[in-house]
Symmetry: C2
Subunit: 304 residues, 2 copies
């Protein structure tokens, strides 16, 4: 393995994905370790786990390693302090935290910025994907771009000249998950059909009064005779529709141009449909491609 | 027991409370049956349960009975069709559903009205409390009044000349419950301290972007060093604050006069504090008093 090769890890709460990247930048190995998500690690276990399980499994014992995500949180390996927005790829690179002797093993810092409520807002992992997308598609990222990373804690970011200027989180994915598993809005189906999803998007209106709009998930079934089999799509459409309506406003921008979606492509496609109801075009970028591009760009500069 | 005596039941999803009301209107017996909430009943079990368990336990075998709440839903005894708003106590009385031969045993219908999203909105049980309060405090209920019934599914109702004109539900209590039990915002404490509650109310702002504001519950701890022990109060304040900000707007009224709170007094006190931050006075009415007043008023008229 040549000097430029490295082990890239996206080490999040519920999953760890690792790639061996060759000196030329091509992927030479990939594995997911869902049982090693940060939430499954005992305190202080990350270093040992990385050395004794991940490096051998990837046949990457002597390689430098670069990792992003919740592994840099208080629940992870060491706390990589949040950088404050605005932040570029170069800022992330300056903020890399070394965690081991031997082959350089580093963690990408998360970002913080002012939130909607007066409290801070934070991200860990998405910064690498968003700025990875910038390095992957520099032409499209030029100027000022509105970026959305759907997920458990969705992030909307304003990117200007290759920097994340500010961002806002929406707990859309987690709300969907806890409501359909544990509330009166219970449903076991995964969203599948477009029409009830779009009914939900329309029901989201301008996103105001979400706790009230959510009750319509139940009322449309018990009072209006809608099929309970469509609850999953309607709930998803309502939550995503409310996010699409509110997040740009909270970010202080108009939703008047294309939105760059980065993340799980299947989930991005639902956001694309919600945006289309407002006449907004979406561009899609796969989250794996983005995180790998980000880690490569950071590693190249850091080892240069 | 004289001819005017009856068995009054508030038979909801998670609890059944029953009172023996004497001919003069005084309470002669009370029991709660938490194990007999509608959600615990097997299909078709309500009639037998009422005859074999509740009547004997209350020593009320020969009495007329009147019950309100989810016992009138598809999950309960029989479905008492929703009446459409506006609705008065007299309308409820006309809509009572008889469910048994022998001593008159009747169920109060729920209400429906247009919801925020285009779907209907519904209530079952709160109509008896709200109109019970009207019968209990006719002077205060005169003219046009904004009424709030906090709870799992909080109801805000506009009452005009003794009729519920329209209403809106907010799933505030259920959101609080599922988020603190099952989400990343997890906390086991019950709200206790005022200051972090008011911090949450302030963080609710105008209630827009709730899915984003909710993330501040976590961010204020991990990024701003707030004590995780205050999460319960902050989350409660954020959700109640958002409801207080949004519900009157969704109902098409200004929050510019006193609000009548009806329900659990401990919970009503938190709403009172949230309203006070907006300079709004609250009047409180205990939910047990209200439901009993409603059932009495309905029974008197029905047996007259």
């Amino acid at each position: 393995l040549s000097a430029g090769a490295f082990l890239a890890c996206d080490w999040g709460t519920t999953n760890l994905r690792a790639w061996v990247v060759g000196a030329g930048g091509s992927v030479q190995g990939y594995r997911a370790f869902p049982q090693l998500g940060v939430s499954r690690l005992a305190a202080g276990q990350a270093a040992e786990c990385f050395r004794d399980e991940i490096r051998p499994a990837m046949e990457a014992e002597g390689l430098p390693a670069l990792m992003c995500g919740m592994i840099g949180s208080t629940l992870g390996w060491v706390t990589a302090p949040y950088l404050t927005c605005p932040a570029s790829l170069e800022d992330l690179r300056q903020g890399l935290i070394s965690v081991e002797d031997g082959p350089p093993t580093r963690i990408v810092p998360g970002l913080r910025g002012p939130g909607v409520t007066g409290a801070s807002d934070v991200m860990r992992g998405e910064e690498t994907q968003i700025l990875g997308w910038v390095s992957l598609e520099p032409e499209r990222a030029r100027g000022r771009q509105l970026v959305c990373h759907p997920g458990t804690h969705a992030k909307w970011a304003l990117v200007e000249d290759g920097r994340i200027v500010r961002f806002v989180t929406a707990m859309t994915g987690e709300l969907f998950d806890v409501l359909r598993k544990h509330s009166v809005l219970k449903t076991t189906d995964a969203p599948e059909h477009l029409e009830p999803f779009l009914e939900g998007v329309r029901a989201a209106g301008d996103g105001d009064g979400l706790a009230s709009r959510l009750f319509s998930v139940r009322a449309r079934v018990v009072a209006d005779g809608k099929d309970a089999d469509t609850t999953s799509e309607y709930l998803s459409g309502l939550l995503i529709g409310a996010e699409v309506a509110s997040a740009p406003r909270l970010l202080g921008v108009e939703l008047d141009g294309p939105v760059q979606l980065i993340g799980d492509i299947g989930l991005c496609r639902w956001y694309e449909k919600a945006l289309a109801t407002r006449g907004i075009t979406a561009h899609l970028c796969d989250g794996d491609m983005a995180v790998l591009a980000g880690l490569k760009a950071l590693q190249q500069g850091a080892s240069a």
